[in-house]
Subunit: 158 residues, 2 copies
Amino acid sequence: MQSEELESILSILNKSGLKMTLEREVIIRFLLEHKDEHFSASEIFNRVREIRRIGIATIYRNLDLLIELHIIKKMTHDFPVPRYTICERDQKHGSHMLICTRCKDVKLIKEDWLMEIEERLQREFGFKVMDHQLVFSGIYSDCQKESCRIHGDRLTNR
Amino acid sequence: MQSEELESILSILNKSGLKMTLEREVIIRFLLEHKDEHFSASEIFNRVREIRRIGIATIYRNLDLLIELHIIKKMTHDFPVPRYTICERDQKHGSHMLICTRCKDVKLIKEDWLMEIEERLQREFGFKVMDHQLVFSGIYSDCQKESCRIHGDRLTNR
DNA sequence: ATAAATGCAAACTGTTTGCAGCTCC
DNA sequence: GGAGCTGCAAACAGTTTGCATTTAT
């Protein structure tokens, strides 16, 4: 399947003396198969459990580990609980997010619009940016007119 | 003291049929006296408790209420727990944050650098921005050289 | 007078931890 | 074989809720 990406993650694990267990693999596969989405820990728990029996502690331990290895990313803005997503390999920084306060849809924009500002931070503040998170909350023009529920409730806790 | 600002908040409360209790006032005063800072719920609890006996539930209930009235703002990015800060009255949007991963200092930049991008979102996505949150994590040049602890550990949970 | 707000304690929710047993290299 | 990993259950931390009492308008 995404064997190429999985291989590359495997080699990161190996380099640190870590093992690719079945549980870990199922978690990673799930996130790889849903690159543009983000999930809460318990969403991941429920989805992974459909594939293989797993404990919630294993979910948390693996998420923490994968964050440390920069394989996945934790997004904390304004969600009831943190959400996790796989890192884009070719992308230095995280993407930008649009959250519609009406329909609760979360759109990820993959371009980086902040180059200029980051240069300015380096110049004016001597601050070297390693990562950024940019979130806009607002309303789509469609949602301003109608009662917009097209995307459903995607942001429950579980 | 900040009577002008306090008055204006009082009138917002009145308009909604809400009361200015002593507890509520102490919370608001505390945040008004520390405009450029942000605090966790339990930090606020401890500071307010020095002034007046108060229960933690009252803290949470008031924080939620003040958020709804757009008097304070909840910041959730990457902190162990959410942090709260008073809204700038003359400022449409929240400020930008620099978080140094070495010294853990959090600097708030009060200018809005995103006007252009917000216009673009309106144009290209039909998305009307109501608020944004922009956080940069990185390292100050000072911190790259030395073991930088000048700001101390400001981000504990309590 | 009465709607709103409070304190307290219990309940809840998400996350972490200790430990005995299991699994991958 | 042994470090690393797992499941389980208990512990933990932050937050929310129900209720009897108090307070602001």
